[in-house]
Subunit: 152 residues, 2 copies
DNA sequence: TACTATTACATAGTTAGCTATGCAATGTTA
DNA sequence: TAACATTGCATAGCTAACTATGTAATAGTA
């Protein structure tokens, strides 16, 4: 019943630790990319659009790990923030193609560097070997969760 | 420029991986605890209240890793859901003490077991040694992020 | 004792995730 | 070709995190 018992408990729960780590990381990212005029939720979409511009929402969605409705809302905010523009699709009136604006294109390098820098800083206490193992564990656990999710 | 290059990239970003893992885990937890009438955000507060009931919001806050406003909103939803009741503090009219209802108390064991079960399942592919290392890495990285956050 | 500062908590407004559902355009088929 | 099914995207409504700010009540002090 001493308080360190609970502390111990949380510190040994993968669920607690990963949640805590994710929240801390996203706040670090938020602060560092604020000067670029973007927020963390826009990062994955930007990464994809920097790779290939002019995609439809559906094509973009296939490159990301979020739900369609989440992407639709994120794109609306990105349009509001002047990062992208949506044009009518030449062949399908339901669809719209998504294009980076000059602003969206221009921040590519700094955004990319910022993200790399954060990854580097937060992993600074781990050796190269430990980092490799850590990332590997996360990939394995993610794979396992996806199995668990759909009844393995 | 081939698509596996981007894939490779994301799969080697600690930030991406931890965010993805956290989201997947919270959705598994959400599904599993839904029958108990609780949601993931209520879990940390419940764990703390099961340890010690009748705390003030401030005392509860000190046991958790969220902001005060987040807790206040979570407590409001917990009250709405019949998990807790708030009573006037005997000595301080600003404060209120937080008490588990019978419902809040009764789900303790099943909630605890569910969380333990999920942790076990998602770590099933890792050996005892690997699990120990994985949790250790997360604790070290979390410590590092907290340093990074406040300068240093 | 009357100001002033601090404290405890609540509220407002934003991001970002989710599911469920709506709607218009396109495709399919009887 | 008219009816129905599917598709692409948007919207509604929820949780849960954040910061900033408001509002009483309490505490401290000139």
């Amino acid at each position: 019943m001493l308080s360190w018992i609970m502390e111990f408990d949380r510190m040994n729960s993968a669920g607690y630790l990963v949640n805590n780590m994710a929240r801390l990381l996203v706040e670090v990212l938020r602060k560092r990319i604020a000067p670029l005029g973007i927020v963390p939720g826009q990062f994955p979409a930007l990464l994809a659009l920097w790779e290939k511009d002019g995609l439809t929402q559906k094509e973009l969605l296939a490159m990301l790990d979020i739900e369609q409705a989440t992407l639709a809302n994120t794109l609306t905010r990105m349009e509001r923030d002047g990062l992208i523009a949506r044009k009518e699709h030449p062949a399908d009136a339901r669809a719209r193609t998504i294009h980076l604006t000059e602003k969206g294109r221009s921040i590519r390098e700094s955004a990319y560097q910022t993200a790399m820098q954060i990854n580097e800083e937060v992993l600074a206490d781990l050796s190269v070997e430990e980092t490799r193992a850590f990332l590997g564990y996360m990939r394995r656990v993610i794979g396992r969760i996806k199995e668990v999710e759909h009844g393995s």
